[in-house]
């Protein structure tokens, strides 16, 4: 009797499995709709479509995972969704509190952002509620490794101060605070104990925060430091912090002169032997008395944006392989162009470079003197910005190519749209010397932001003619304004004479941001 029952059960189970497999196959064949409402969720929402097969038999698919893996899943959810899982069942109640990350972003938690005055739950209410629940549900309070608070509107720095003090510094590895204060004269001062943290690896501070590090300050584990538009207590504040970081790898500094008004003197001295990446946004006008001095021999990547003062110092950077340079123009200075060339000369070994068009124009102005460096290792060069800002900008790009004899890839990313494009550019008609890289090394050329104008067609024609070893010429259409009659342009462009036998022409009509 028992044997028969077992047999029947077996048969039924096999039958069920067969049906399930058949259903699955059918679902696959029908193809899936893709949720187009958000690009980031688009690719993963197909999992939700598959969910319909589960809703019929209500099979528990998740409880076999241990708590640690459930927490790992929760760590990928925005805090609001993560907290909401507390209601799923009693097992799930404390799980969100065990995720050692608190990511509190006002933009994420308040919708529609930024108007929260009429909302029932304001950002401060939500933050306090989350914090209190986290401490109440799990006892003892689970460790917190990462604290992220971005509070842009109606910020109350006192609350942030309370939370940072309450976060146990023994466990904190990442701290990211961006605050925009309601009262602009009362920035948040960080608690003193933070400056002696032995566990902090990432520290990012922005806007209304005032740094006043004690001279004995030390960050033995800090690898990434970001200071964006913060205020400093005195001129030694920044050097004190930088000297306190023996293993610093990545530094981002965004300095704006109006936030330095309290200081007579402010020298940004970056003397960090371990630094590999530097991002300096120096929004300090050359006429001011503030200067920077950079001596980072191990640097591999530099992104510089801003003005160059006469006394700014940049030591040689032999290991820099990648750079992004966006130098702002300063008309009042006579030898500004030479200063910019000196700066560029320190990056002599660079392999990949991105230049703003304005930087290129400044370099062109100073290109008559003797000591122009040649970038022998430069293999990829990208020009970003408004190519038709000045009439002779394309001429400039062409000339700058002469200082990169081994260049293999040239990218021009044209961003804005100006009426100049409609008029024929007289500079394009001048015969120009062909840069050496065009004859021997240039294999890839990409033009992004094609709008169908005559000047652009002429530019492409000239490159195609001059580049003797070109393998790919790719043109990406600009997304705004929308280019009409794309097949016509594709045909016209592909007809141009190609100086290289093996040149492939690609016309990308896709969306370009």
């Amino acid at each position: 009797m028992k044997w028969q029952m077992i047999e029947t059960e077996e048969r039924e189970r096999r039958e069920r499995q067969r049906i399930e497999r058949a259903e699955r196959a059918k679902m696959r064949d029908q193809g899936w709709l893709i949720d187009v409402t958000s690009t980031s969720r688009r690719r993963l929402s197909s999992v939700r479509q598959n969910a319909h097969t589960n809703t019929d038999d209500g099979e528990d698919i998740i409880s076999s995972l241990p708590d640690s893996l459930l927490c790992h899943i929760l760590s990928f959810l925005p805090i609001r969704d993560s907290v909401a899982t507390s209601i799923l069942s009693s097992r799930w109640r404390p799980l969100w509190t065990l995720v050692p990350i608190l990511h509190l972003d006002q933009k994420q938690l308040i919708e529609p952002y930024p108007d929260e005055r009429n909302k029932k739950f304001k950002f401060v209410d939500i933050v306090l509620r989350i914090w209190t629940l986290r401490n109440a549900i799990s006892n003892p309070t689970p460790p917190l490794h990462k604290l992220f608070i971005h509070w842009y509107h109606y910020c109350l720095p006192f609350y942030v101060d309370t939370l940072v003090r309450a976060a146990n510094l023994r466990d904190l590895q990442e701290l990211d605070l961006h605050l925009c204060n309601y009262h602009p004269h009362q920035p948040l001062e960080l608690p003193r104990s933070l400056y002696f943290s032995t566990t902090l690896v990432v520290l990012k501070l922005g806007a209304d925060i005032r740094l006043n590090p004690p001279s004995a300050c030390v960050f033995p584990c800090l690898r990434i430091l970001l200071l964006k538009c913060v205020t400093f207590a005195n001129r030694d504040s920044l050097p004190t912090i930088l000297n306190a970081c023996p293993v610093l790898l990545d530094l981002s500094l965004h300095v704006v002169d109006k936030y330095l008004n309290n200081l007579d003197e402010f020298n940004v001295i970056v003397l960090v032997a371990t630094l590999k990446r530097l991002h300096l946004h120096w929004n300090v006008h050359p006429s001011s008395k503030y200067i920077f001095q950079i001596n980072t021999p191990a640097l591999e990547y530099i992104h510089f944006r801003g003005y160059l003062n006469r006394d700014d110092v940049l030591e040689k950077l032999p290991d820099v392989v990648e750079c992004v340079i966006q130098i702002e123009d300063c008309e009042k200075s006579d030898d500004y162009a030479k200063r910019v060339w000196d700066f560029m000369g320190k990056l002599y070994n660079v392999i990949s470079m991105e230049l703003s068009i304005i930087t290129a124009l400044i370099l062109f102005q100073g290109s008559n003197h003797e000591d122009i460096p040649t970038f022998h290792n430069l293999s990829s060069l990208k020009f970003c910005g408004d190519l038709w800002y000045e009439w002779y900008a394309w001429h400039v790009v062409w000339l700058l190519l002469c200082w990169a004899p081994g260049l293999q890839t040239l990218v021009i990313e044209h961003s804005s749209w100006l009426g100049y494009l409609n008029k024929r550019n007289p500079f394009l008609e001048e015969p120009l010397d062909v840069p050496e890289c065009m004859l021997s090394h240039l294999t890839t050329c990409v033009y992004k932001g094609f709008g169908g104008y005559e000047n652009e067609m002429e530019l492409v024609r000239q490159i195609l003619k001059a580049a003797k070893v070109l393998k790919i010429m790719k043109i990406t259409v600009s997304s705004y304004p929308i280019l009409e009659n794309k097949p016509h342009f594709r045909k016209e462009l592909s007809k141009f004479y190609r100086g290289s036998q093996n040149c492939q022409f690609v016309f990308d009509e896709g969306h370009f941001i």
Partner: protein, 148 residues
């Protein structure tokens, strides 16, 4: 580093000097079913292949990988995801583990509690009064949730 648990096994083998001249070694993986293992191996191979093809261009690698991942998810059932997560965790294959966990997270993001319960196949074990109380406490987290 992919499949760290397996690499560990190889390292141990070499240390013990087991030389039998055999070109294939049998590695016991008692906690991994064959089906998820096959998917993980394909994922790993594809990842390495894409990386090799686009050695210089990080963006291209990411783009291609994303396309492949999207295709992969269309074929995978939610039940299989759990097995894949367990397998990737056992094998110490961080990229795959993160990817499948993110997939599950994305499936329940911005969804109502009822939907999530259905999706996971969970049943509430709260008493009626308790659940009401919790819903009140967490009311702010339900604002703006998707309709199913």
């Amino acid at each position: 580093m992919k499949f760290c648990a397996v690499k560990q096994y190889f390292d141990d083998e070499n240390n013990n000097n087991i030389t039998s001249g055999a070109s294939t070694t049998m590695i016991p993986l008692p906690n991994v079913e064959s089906h998820p293992l096959a998917i993980l191996i394909t994922y790993c191979k594809k990842h390495l292949k894409i990386k090799a093809n686009n050695a210089d261009n990080k963006k291209e690698t990411e783009k291609e990988m994303e396309q492949y991942e999207q295709e992969l998810l269309k074929k995978v059932m939610p039940q299989e995801l759990t097995e894949l997560i367990l397998a990737a965790n056992y094998l110490n294959f961080k990229e795959a583990l993160d990817f499948f966990c993110r997939a599950v997270a994305s499936a329940i993001q911005n969804k109502s509690i009822e939907f999530v319960r259905k999706f996971f196949g969970l049943e509430s074990d709260f008493e009626l009064g308790e659940e009401e109380k919790l819903r009140e406490e967490f009311a702010w987290s339900f604002e703006g949730v998707d309709e199913d």
